[in-house]
Subunit: 465 residues, 4 copies
């Protein structure tokens, strides 16, 4: 069995990329490259669905984008509308049947759907729909959405989506494709991101702007919370579906999940992370020799911390760039190898030094403990851990896998206790106010820090998949 | 693209194998070996679903049984009930999404289904169900069945099946599995075969008895037309679902499709084919030196023909046992290679001889023409083709792919014309009366020969997949 | 680990196919199809080497011909001379490094070599060559041949081959290819077969004539024992290398190894096997109801036996045509499954009958015992085993893997004892005289039956690989 | 055909890792993890050879370490001595047959060999050896070494190696393994690195110290230029093989090739690269807003440059961490995608700014040009390119693939011309004196900068493979 080196990070659910492309520029290739740019949002499976004028062709499988597709497969995907999806890897329910996009036949024809997010009332809908005859092949929320839409088959697809948005609660950035149109939907709180781009006459909808950059498209604007965007031969049309009282973009998109070159709802991720680091440096002065980031997730915050504090930054930990997600499990004798395969301290850099180790978050605390041990064994005199987000004390129900509440170290222990457990000389979490100063007072979901959930959680809702 | 050497034969849809096994003898292994024995019924995909006590585990993929499963996968399939399926290969719609068994969540829990056959009113049900909100992931009839069953979720699974049998028309040998029971269903006309076996305390349901023999099980009896067989911890129970006025086992199961060592509804396939050959010899005397079968499908009939006619049988055509289904496509210069890769005449056997070439059927006539050409090039003086079935003039709507009507050579040309086209010195088809003498006056579907369809064909019904 | 169903048969080492093709008909494709036709001579690995005008391109790997090559690979193999090889599968030393052809750089340039056979003095040459600096990457005899040839680098390749033939002893059908010529060599006793064919202007050298038929080539003649055949732009030239006092074609090529449609040194394999069956029927009259062949190897002999004895032949055992070579190993409970997966008796055919079971040979007796048990369980009243060859009492040193002497059942037990062990009602081996009457008084190697080895066996020679 | 995004960097040939491990800690696993840490030195193929007490087991194939090995394969590699190898990818001659280690049978038994480097007189030895009967399966220098050693078969392996070192010229870090000993050899100039580590009682020899760290071993010392290190049951022994007048470690190991956490001949790679950056800042003052590294190769030098210059460093280019080496080739319309898939500018960071773009080297100039274009399109006001090494004007004959001389941009154009071609506002190469100040006045091979080759180049020597 493959062995995963768990890096103790929140995990995003998925990335989506869709295109309406009337010019035959190489539709499937554009989706392929777009998914490449979104690969960080999901490495478990990848898929592309293309409306070929008659039906919908679909290729999807477990694995990275580069594993799932080859030139022959892409060449066989021809058409003018396409959507693609990457999905993240969990150990549990991952299997080919859950790979997206899903393609369905319903009373109005064929439709393909790709979803990033998590519904909070899927379980009750699943029960209701099942009782009147719906069957499900997966445990995916997405299948609930499509069954609901099919119940509104008397309506146009846009109307069906609007009705659906009234029914479903939670986080969703959805792409849908019928034979001749591409539709994007963002949940009323805007929990998950989605943006619009343009390349020539072609429109693109994508989870993050880095995917637009990669295929050479111009960023047009973000999809608004609750907005339905319809793209077809008449161009782009917008409908406001359901409106929520507050916007609540997932703060972790800015803290950790998104790629640092993406711009999400007006904020450049890299600069946002630098701001978090600067706030951290303002919040806590530490007498140290150098700032060392945990690569890659802590780098931007470390830049900010170093600039604000004046303490020089150094590469004290080196990441093995060729390490995949899974390994042959080390024998009992070699157990400690795990983290060292991914990250190795540079002894001559850290030896005898007082370090400020910068990371973006602590979920269960397992990796932090090992890194501090490695650094101390390499001769570091002191290791002061600073975290560019507040303690994660509450589970996420909107599509981020932060482990179950009982596994969240910050839900059971206070900062001093955690500091002791991970073996740090000090531990500093960014305060919630600091986070808000850096990222904005409003418009963010910070439920995992403060338990203030912007969308109600139904009975039976689960903490992500 | 792989290149298939088309052998101009009817194609079966599928084979099914299910087991209720309370003794932990190696459930998944038994299904694996059972599917191996049914591999001739479908080489496109293979799958096994196992009820593990909590849910249903499913492994399925494109490919032969030996390709889809390995030891590790089988070991992970643990439980006391399992069903398996093999599916035949077409060029068109074959893809992993159509591989069976299908596993569904519905209001009464999880259910797995495996299906051999074809419904004649699936299209209208698909429309009706779709209009009230059902969605479909495939174009498979099996999805129609499960959606119908889900609509009867207020009933027990047995009741739901009974109601379903009233709704659906056509050919079906179905296996269903809920968490703790195995259910077999055969269509009211018994178009597709299914039999019951026992090994120790375990019950088995399978498409053909050769699968029982292979795993060392005893043949108990056939599932009766219209019968529902339920196997659970209380043993085997039988319900008569729907009764048809006449039994109508597909004659092609006996003529070509089934394995020669299977016993189907009381007839040993090998002996049935010998009888066909004998009837053919009675029908038409031919002055010839030897009887040459087209291996493997014509061998049993050739035995019968040789015995009855007194003309010695010889292996005049040798089959390459290592030829798979697909090849690298020959270049233009090597076009004729196709059949020769599979079948090669023995020159010294056929040279200067008058041959009676025995085959089971002619669909489009393409292979017969090539074989006769090969034999003549090898020196055969005369080639008299005899076919152990009547001309196929009508399409099948019950699950056998005999090509569309316009491709059936016998729907467009008479026997003399066909004889000329394939280059034979004479061509003899078995008369329908001869077939009935050999296989039984009643109880057979002979629709492809005489257009007398035992189950009505709805608008929109298609000639198999 | 894959599990092989051992069928208790001698195993051939390899098949070779070479072509000199100046017309660009699709060189690599012709070799590919030729190897397909020789696949029965080796299923472990396959390879093709093509002289591209500058160097030699080589593709080889473990697996069947269809597994190793695809269209893209074949298209990249361009040139006018090519040789190919298939190798049989053993459990022990099989690995990619032993796959042939081998391609070498030596002082005269590049050369490719493909070999069917076994040397009897390879070990001593290996020692001698090693002492003066040769290194070997494999344990293959073929590497000894090429190292010897390299020592004669002052000579032309033809001269080097002639010198080599003086040095090496044993069985070899060799193909060599330099940049612009194709060379075939057959050992002085002609132990392994090789024939010459022509298609248009192209010459072909192949282990068996069935490969010529398959690609549409005309059979020209056999390569003579001890002959070196050189084909280049000047056409075909022949040199007599070394002459042995007697020809000694391996009798097992005719009895079992070759494909039944091949013609080997003037004998059609199928007819030769029928003759063996006829001799057997003359040798021993048995009161029985039917003749049942063990498919596929016993079929031709069974034809002969049935014709001579007047007892009708029947298909009493059915072979699963989809069984590959390896399986998932059955659990302890399912141990007996092995043979039944491959061969299943037809109960209604054999029930209550006295059978004459015809097979070509018994090596260790394991399969015969299981088949007789299966037939008796299916109701056979008596099973009389008849074998169309004498007992195998001596190991082969010329390239056929008949197991080590201590494993040969006939080297330890007499016919009565073997009969008892396999559970037959009687056991009849063809007498050596009968074999000679059928196949020819002279010109055959019968060492495995009578210990009369035509080529001396050096110390250290091993019974095949 | 896969499409490689060429990053215009020198390519190393290989990495080696060997272990003598008497304690059964999991020998093959240690080699596996060690090769993982050396994966940056070669991504084309990977292999491990283990002396199992009787012979040598070998597993090798094309692909990354994680692709070539799985748990079952590693478990089958048991013994107390092992060597492993990773090889870099070229488009031309890469094929499985060139994967190392090589395992040979010679007069003294079996020996395995793994080689990093390139000989300068291999061609003439190949000719000499060939003339006296050696054959070669590859074009690899390593086969020359083993054939030479075999010619000294009258000597012990240590003596044979010593004689060999007199014969061969060039760069080599060699690991050899006989049944019971591990031997490491470094060329007299020490062109390629090798170090010694210890874990428990086990000794390790590896190309770089990062491999020691990864498996938890202690760094003992470097293997000295010209040294032969023998490790067996008596511990570690050292022999001085051949002594060169000067040490000449390849400067590019420090500049680019080695992992930044390795210590090579006393220098920590990360710190060495920072020094190069500092020298560069001293050499040339540039009025700019920020220092932007080309990730990952320019990061360490950028740190140094930023510290010395006082200009702040920023992540202006983001690397896609999921990009593998090969892609589906973009269509004509999407040609420009190549570099953008790997590196994307952060618009909001670089917009309107004057940048100092730091990279380690320019080989052909292709990537630099594209990066500068991307940065300018993203709004950068000025891009000043600074390179932490002198212009590469001469080819390498010692194992680094820097392209052929005519492809080296600096061999044809002066700095101003190159600056113009890549579209930079200024271009600064580090001066050779600066490099020496940073890395040491002596002991380095700087031939690619100044043409001063420490080992003579024979006729026929080629610029790496």
């Amino acid at each position: 069995m493959p062995y995963e080196i768990e890096m103790d990070k929140p995990k995003d659910e998925c990335g989506v990329f869709g295109i309406y492309e009337p010019q035959n520029m190489g539709l499937a290739q554009l989706v392929y490259y777009g998914l490449y740019a979104l690969q960080h949002r999901g490495q478990e499976s990848a898929g592309i669905a293309v409306a070929n004028g008659e039906g919908i062709d679909l290729i999807k499988d477990m694995g990275l984008v580069a594993d799932v597709f080859d030139e022959e497969k892409l060449q066989n995907l021809k058409g003018n509308v396409a959507i693609g999806h990457v999905r993240y890897s969990t150990t549990g329910e991952s299997s080919a049947i859950n790979a997206q996009p899903f393609v369905y036949h319903y009373s109005r024809g064929m439709v393909a759907i790709a979803h990033n997010g998590n519904l909070t009332n899927a379980a009750s809908w699943r029960k209701t729909l099942g009782e009147s005859g719906s069957v499900f092949q997966t445990t995916s929320d997405t299948e609930v959405i499509i069954n609901l839409m099919a119940r509104y088959g008397q309506n146009t697809i846009e109307e069906a989506i609007m009705k659906c948005m009234i029914d479903i609660k939670g986080a969703y950035a959805l792409l849908l494709m019928s034979g001749d149109k591409l539709i994007g939907v963002r949940d009323p709180n805007g929990l998950r991101p989605m943006c619009i781009g343009k390349i020539g006459e072609a429109y693109i909808l994508a989870s993050e702007s880095c995917a637009l950059d990669t295929v050479g498209a111009r960023f047009i604007r973000n999809v608004k919370p609750g907005e339905i965007v319809i793209i077809d031969k008449n161009g782009l049309r917008s409908i406001q579906g359901v409106t929520a009282p507050q916007k609540a973009l997932c703060a972790f998109e800015l803290i950790y999940l998104a790629r640092t070159d993406s711009v999400i709802d007006g904020q450049t991720v890299n600069l946002a992370r630098q701001s978090l680091g600067r706030e951290l440096a303002k919040q806590k002065k530490i007498a140290a020799d150098m700032v060392v980031p945990v690569p890659d997730s802590g780098i931007a915050a470390a830049y900010g911390y170093a600039q604000e504090s004046g303490i020089p930054m150094q590469e004290g930990l080196v990441k093995n760039r060729y390490v995949g997600r899974t390994f042959i499990k080390p024998t009992q004798e070699l157990r400690d190898l795990g983290v060292r395969l991914k990250l190795n301290p540079i002894k001559t850099v850290v030896e005898g030094k007082k370090l400020i180790l910068v990371d973006d978050s602590i979920v269960r605390g397992t990796t932090s403990k090992k890194l501090i041990k490695l650094l101390k064994e390499a001769g570091a005199q002191e290791v002061h851990m600073v975290i560019s987000s507040p303690p994660i004390s509450f589970p996420c129900y909107y599509g981020i896998d932060t482990s179950r509440q009982e596994e969240l170290i910050a839900s059971k222990f206070n900062t001093d206790e955690i500091c002791k457990q991970i073996g740090a000389d000090s531990l500093t979490y960014l305060k919630l106010e600091g986070l808000k100063t850096a990222l904005g007072e409003t418009g963010l979901c910070t439920a995992c820090f403060d338990g203030s959930y912007p969308v109600e959680i139904s009975d039976g809702a689960t903490n992500a998949r």
